[in-house]
């Protein structure tokens, strides 16, 4: 009987369900976005370069290349974007002394995606170089040219192809970069590194933890936070999260008002029915329970619909704004369900409490 009665009132029920589902969608979606913003923005910040440097510990001038394997192991539980090894040595390129960086270009692209390239990245194992824009202008070098590289005066020289010209807006524009192995061979510095740059998705507090973990687990290195990046990242993220929190709270309040108003309107228009039921012998508890139960059922169904739609909404926001998917959060789903049930239940309860106070005789006379 109850099921049939709900079906016969489907127009009203659909309106109530829509109000609850839309409310739940917004609540679930906004909370998901709010929770995910720091993570997503943290990832977005990773496009601005490394936030942790691995330097030699104490008086040492270099790091053993194998040390990076231990660093990777120590960072296993974190989301590491990339670890770029660097060996910096001076070389002679077309008879000009220039600071040269030997590196892993695949890792470099992950850690420093902001580097502007004219041409292409050097390929692994090939005798190719990447020339800083300033140095390239000085020597009138362009991609595809051949340059002569030697480790120093009187050393054996070899021809290298210029794969690309790089602009970074920094001192790298006066450098030359080549594959790490090539530089290690030219300078007879096998398995040696000057430093490594690490890009890792973590906030300021987590970065501090990472620094301490690395110091403890890999004692022959000196990890150092890139403070400007970490601090500005923390400041921007804090402000952004506050803004999203504010918007979420405002939307939440508006949604609560909207759902409550709809539920109240639906219950209030059944005032006559409540009066009739009272005249037929229903006591106030019967009426309150009946409407509260109906409200809770609406809240449950609307909450389930809203949780699903909210996840899709948050997913769409995340993909469009951060170009990355969002993971489903069971805690947000359960929270949204409970909130939907509570809101609709309470929103039904208030007008029913008012309606039960009405004298059935007065309402039934149409006064």
């Amino acid at each position: 009987m109850v099921g049939n009665a709900l079906l016969r009132r489907r127009a009203r029920m659909v309106i109530a369900l829509l109000a609850v589902a839309v409310g739940a969608t917004i609540i679930s979606g906004m909370i998901t976005v709010y929770r995910d913003v720091p993570e997503q923005m943290g990832r977005a910040f990773r496009a601005y370069g490394a936030n942790l440097l691995i330097l030699p510990a104490g008086e040492k001038a270099n790091i053993e290349q194998s040390t990076l394997t231990r660093v990777r192991e120590a960072l296993q539980s974190y989301e590491v974007v990339g670890i770029t090894p660097f060996l910096y040595e001076s070389t002679i390129v077309n008879r000009q002394i220039v600071m040269t960086g030997g590196t892993d270009f695949e890792e470099l692209q992950k850690v420093s995606p902001y580097w502007q390239m004219q041409g292409r990245w050097p390929e692994k194992g090939k005798k190719e170089v990447l020339v800083g824009a300033e140095f390239a202008q000085k020597l009138h070098i362009k991609p595809g040219d051949s340059v002569v590289v030697s480790g120093g005066e009187g050393e054996i020289s070899a021809d290298y192809t210029v794969a690309g010209i790089v602009s970074t807006g920094g001192k790298e524009e006066s450098f030359v970069f080549m594959n790490l192995g090539n530089l290690q061979t030219i300078k007879s510095r096998p398995e040696e590194l000057s430093l490594a740059q690490v890009s890792i998705v973590a906030d300021q507090a987590a970065l501090k933890d990472i620094e301490e973990t690395l110091q403890r687990q890999v004692p022959d290195i000196a990890p150092q936070l890139v403070k400007q990046i970490a601090q500005s990242e923390g400041t921007v993220l804090g402000k952004l999260q506050s803004l999203v929190l504010l918007v979420t709270i405002v939307v939440l309040i508006l949604t609560l008002i909207c759902v409550s108003t709809t539920m109240m309107a639906i219950v209030t228009e059944r005032r006559k029915e409540i009066a009739l039921k009272k005249a037929l012998g229903a006591d106030n508890a019967n009426i309150v329970l009946e409407f509260f139960g109906e409200g809770c059922l609406l809240g449950l169904i609307g909450g389930v619909l809203g949780t699903g739609c909210g996840y899709l909404f948050a997913q769409s926001v995340s993909i469009n704004v951060f170009s990355r998917g969002i993971s489903f959060s069971p805690s947000i789903a359960v929270g949204t369900l409970i909130l939907s049930i509570l809101i609709t239940g309470l929103a039904s309860l208030v007008p029913v409490r008012i309606a039960t106070a009405v004298d059935p005789a007065i309402v039934l006379r149409g006064e």
């Binding site: 009987m1 009739l276 037929l280 012998g281 039934l364």
Partner: protein, 220 residues
């Protein structure tokens, strides 16, 4: 002892307007009483007091041996549910429930809904074939007959009918009055409130209320 006793009952609104003044009325078990009077005479106030939907400001109401004067609203509700079957002028059916379900609602608040009992009650008023119809699919006369079936479903000691034919055409009026006669013949106690002398004359006894005072009316 009478089934219903009203001893010196009065009802004042705002301590100024007396809707009922010193009403004394006794209704015996199995009796059919009509309460007549023009609009604003106080007959609806009287019906609300007898129907346990309102309390008098003075005097005593005794129904089926219980004094209703000093009881709480919850006790009045329980009394209304157990002792009284109400038939309204405007039918008052829940629009999204079928005839069968509308009667079941009254049963649900009283005890347990039992479909065969409801079907029996619908058969009693000649509407067995309309059990699954919504109020919008029933004529006024049919709706009023469903309301009579609803009033009978919990075996009340008193059937209270407020202008039961007020919204019906002549043909349906006759049909409804026929059912009331049958109920009376079966021993039901009936109290009809009406302004229509024709309906009043159908009852066994008739009282008239005017300006809050009651007097017996001679039957034709």
């Amino acid at each position: 002892m009478s089934l219903l006793e009203l001893n010196h009952v009065s009802k004042a609104y705002n301590e100024k307007f007396m809707a009922l003044e010193d009403i004394n009325l006794h209704v015996e078990k199995g009796e059919w009483l009509a309460v007549m009077g023009p609009s604003g005479s106080g007959k609806t106030t009287l019906m609300n007091i007898i129907g346990c939907m309102d309390k008098p400001t003075g005097g005593e109401v005794v129904l089926d041996g219980a004094v209703l004067t000093d009881v709480t609203s919850a006790e009045l509700t329980r009394f209304r549910r157990d002792k009284i079957g109400i038939v309204f002028q405007q039918f008052h059916m829940i629009p999204y429930l079928t005839a069968l379900e509308n009667i079941m609602v009254a049963q649900y608040y009283h005890s347990m809904p039992e479909k065969h009992e409801v079907l029996k009650a619908l058969d009693r008023v000649g509407l067995l074939d309309r059990a699954d119809h919504l109020p919008s699919q029933l004529s006024g006369g049919e709706q009023q007959r469903v309301c009579i079936a609803r009033a009978l479903i919990n075996y009340p000691v008193l059937i209270l009918a407020d202008e039961p034919t007020g919204n019906l055409d002549e043909q349906n009026q006759k049909l409804v009055m026929k059912i009331f006669h049958e109920l009376h013949d079966e021993g039901h106690t009936i109290l009809t409130v009406t302004h229509s002398p024709d309906v009043g004359d159908e009852a066994q006894r008739c009282v008239v209320i005017e300006h809050g005072h009651m007097k017996e009316r001679e039957m034709k």
